[in-house]
């Protein structure tokens, strides 16, 4: 696949400069071959990698002896271009950018520091919002008696095929099997029943950050793993209206996170009956369009009605002294969102991170030849770092001596760092730096001669980061909008789906017809979007009047 990679314009236009050959042991650190495939993807001997490359292929794709100090748009030797094979690209990016690795148990994932730092950025934002909206964090045990799962009829139907069961504890067979939580509604209700007595105990609004386990057969790093990390909110209210308001409030928190932090223009809406959470009366969702135009359900918020409170007897005494079942919600966002970020913004060169959630916002690459130059450059670079750090910009210096500047440019591009600052001896002499944007390759993405004067530099960097943040959202929005097709017949839907697009059309047909669409096209109703076109609508399938349009798409 290496042969398919085209040199970037920047590479072709810039002067050649000889660099040391990158030594093999160093490259090994970055080889994507340490990931085991979920299904056996590549059969190459010695290859256990999640990467699409076999080890042999990889070693033959070492960087050429002469590379350029200016960045090429791709990180040679590691990432399959996105345009060539989206799935291979995704797995390569995860391996090369050191986001995750497979665990020893099939379908499990080790989240590596760089990937985990993205999750931490998600946590930090949401945790504040949850508290601002009146929720407290707490922690429920992960072992749930099997009998709990069976109490809510549709819940057990939805989850029982995916359960991991503990049957032995402390060397002994257990009397009752324990479920490793796939979600916590049942145990939450068991406890709520003990804590809720009167209307004065309501609303009860909590959240927990936890790991959950679902025995998935087809796994994919971040998107679907046997164990994953998430937050799950659980609330209990005195009325249906309050629960509905809460469910809507939380899907809005997720939407804002997606737009404002992750730069993902999700579509917010309501799930169809068939796609509603097992145990909910209504599920709201944010649906994101990935780079391959498949949909990713990136967060959900459920109005549970009284389904669980009836199953578990979670009651309160209302202001009139009557016993009533509480009305509940639950809502969750998981490490799957990290996959959504990768697949929304990445390009042929690798990962591209929105500045607000990038673990490193600015990478500083010092460039020198002589010891004398090194002193000057390193001094300049250190004070740059301090200046940016003080301005709350997440900055890192790559001063390893084993790698060439060109290699570093490619590497940090592949890691998706939004901005790069290059500092060479001439820059030090001029007291200025070159600032390069990750999202715009080559010269158009570079600002030359930016003064090192702290206030000037900080202002420049901050405004560039905001521009990149806005630009990523804008780009993703255009991409989404150009790939959603309005359809008025089943044939039009089929055509849109066959082209890999999303189809939006009036829908009031039956669950059975929804299944038929899925079987015949592979697409499901992603949601009935909150934003609905004006005017009368006719179901494209039946011709009957329809209240709403639905969005159909293939999905992860």
């Amino acid at each position: 696949m290496g042969a398919l990679r085209l040199p970037s314009l920047a590479l072709l236009l810039s002067p050649c400069k000889s660099l040391r050959l990158v030594s093999r042991p160093l490259l090994l650190r970055l080889r994507p071959s340490t990931l085991k495939p979920a299904a056996s993807v590549s059969g190459g001997a010695g290859s256990r990698g999640l990467s699409s490359h076999s080890l042999a292929k990889e070693e033959s794709s070492l960087p050429p002896p002469s590379a350029d100090r200016k960045p090429s748009s791709s990180y040679e030797g590691s990432v399959t271009p996105r345009s060539v094979d989206f799935n291979a690209w995704y797995l390569d990016v995860i391996a090369s950018a050191e986001l995750a690795d497979y665990g020893p148990v099939r379908g499990t994932m080790v989240i590596r520091p760089y990937g985990y730092a993205i999750w931490e950025a998600i946590q930090e934002y949401l945790n504040v919002k949850f508290k601002e909206t009146g929720h407290s964090n707490m922690y429920f045990p992960q072992f749930i008696p099997y009998s709990f799962i069976e109490k809510e009829a549709s819940h057990v139907e939805g989850f029982s095929p995916e359960l991991a069961l503990v049957t032995i504890g402390g060397g002994k067979e257990l009397e009752e099997k324990l479920v490793v939580r796939p979600t916590s509604e049942t145990i939450v209700n068991h406890m709520f029943t003990q804590w809720i007595h009167s209307y004065r105990d309501l609303p009860l609004m909590i959240n927990q950050w936890a790991n959950v386990t679902r025995w998935e057969m087809r796994t994919k790093p971040f998107v679907r793993t046997l164990e994953f990390l998430w937050q799950e909110g659980h609330t209990a209210h005195a009325t249906l209206e309050e629960a509905e308001k809460e469910a809507l409030q939380m899907i809005d928190v997720y939407k804002k996170f997606a737009y404002e932090q992750a730069a993902i223009p999700v579509i917010v809406g309501r799930k169809s009956r068939a796609e509603t959470f097992a145990g909910a009366i209504r599920t709201y969702t944010i649906e994101a369009m990935m780079g391959d135009r498949k949909a990713l359900q990136a967060g959900t918020s459920h109005n549970l009605g009284q389904n669980f409170s009836r199953a578990f007897g979670t009651q309160f005494t209302d202001e009139n002294g009557q016993r009533q079942h509480v009305w509940q919600t639950s809502w969750a966002v998981s490490t799957r969102f990290v996959g959504g970020i990768i697949m929304t913004h990445g390009d042929d060169a690798g990962l591209m991170l929105p500045p607000r959630i990038a673990p490193i916002q600015v990478i500083v690459v010092p460039i020198w030849k002589t010891a004398d130059e090194k002193n000057g450059v390193m001094n300049a670079v250190s004070s740059l770092k301090e200046v940016l750090h003080k301005a709350d910009i997440r900055v890192k210096i790559d001063d390893t001596e084993q790698r060439t500047p060109g290699w570093k440019f490619n590497f940090w591009e592949m890691k998706g760092v939004p901005l790069r600052i290059e500092v060479g001896p001439r820059d030090v002499a001029n007291e200025s730096v070159v600032v390069s944007r990750r999202d715009i390759p080559g010269k158009p993405g570079k600002d030359f001669g930016i003064s090192m004067e702290p206030s000037v530099l900080v202002t420049h960097i901050k405004s560039r980061l905001e521009e990149i943040q806005a630009s990523l959202l804008q780009r993703a929005t255009s991409f989404r909008d150009s790939n959603v097709v309005d359809v008025n017949s089943y044939n039009e839907l089929k055509e849109a789906i066959a082209q890999g697009k999303w189809a939006r059309g009036p829908w009031s047909a039956s669950d059975a017809e929804e299944v038929k669409v899925k079987e015949e096209t592979g697409a499901t109703i992603r949601c009935f979007p909150f934003e609905q076109p004006q005017g009368q609508k006719k179901c494209f399938m039946t011709g009957n009047p329809a209240d709403e349009v639905a969005i159909f798409a293939k999905s992860y």
Copy 2:
């Protein structure tokens, strides 16, 4: 037990004031009867509480119809005095202060918002320190193939009796049983082996915040539960010296946290061979003296040597091109620390929290009778809150109308909030408030006429919080020091232990003699403290020369 409670001096000295009878449904919210006992503590019909009170007792100990607006030193009706029964007091505090509840599976614990907030304070501090010392967070799967546990001989011996095993996944019997992690050294080494190639990959320093499972037979909330939350650090180094330095650095981080944040004067030292972690060559520990003078191991840091790297083949190529096994450490602090905080500082009236980790540092209680008074008081209280909140003081207003001020005073004392501000109509007129300290009961702990002027008030509150923080540490240190006895013979040790104290004496005897001490006295070597007395020492057991003194104590 309620009969044993003496009214506080404050209660006897202050003028009586009639208050509404607290209605029963409200009290139900706070009753400690929702906790199930670990072992069956109380046999009262209908009582499932972890509390020492039976439900009947509880209901008969409702507050009397007239209570005082000045605080009594105990939260009537809920907490057994610590001086009467330490264990019952501990369980009562956990129930009444709503720190935790038992989960449905024996030995599991639900950490409620107030208890979880203490854990969050621990996390926030340590997380920053871990990053400052060069560690990155990441996440390993919790399911570990059973064969991994068997690879390190002493590790399997130490952990196999405590394992929870998943044997069924997705409805099918698994080919290999999966261990729900009791700790992660094995899976960490499995991954490190894939990531570490050359000396340039070292040191590798990571941490994870996670849940772990150990099938304990005798459980106690926070102190020992079937599942608990912790952080586990794991590092790999090129030399033994570096690993040793790291292990020492991390036990020092824990020590600083204990002293400076939790106000717990831990003793730092090295574990005896018998008490060393299963798989380590050396274990460092911080040992805390609880209010009943039992020792609590509050954090450990292990030098693992090459035990795991040899078992898992975790090797690197050194600067001379030689393959070597890495040298490793691991270190952990868990939710057990919350138990340590409760048992170090609490008193007969309930919990007492060090200001730096208190979820609420200042509780504001507004007091009024007429609607007119209410307006003035609530306005004053709102602006107080804003002022303190802006100064980064964690403040809460208790403005519920269902409870009397006196009830609130007792309640928030029982919850351990360091400072209380009372605001009545007269205070509003005088533009001043009364500030009461949790750690000093009655008048001596009160500051009258503190101006509401923002800068004055903030300065006063901040300095009082610092005083309380220092005072709690000082008090705990005096208590500890007056309960450690220097011993020079086995008889002296027996006497000290029989008195419930800690014994410190020179020790160079055998492991067998250590076992004998345990069997005969119930005490174990808690550590060989880093701080050692000068001069020659003779083992108090054998009379042989001894390099060090050891500390013996009964422990949790």
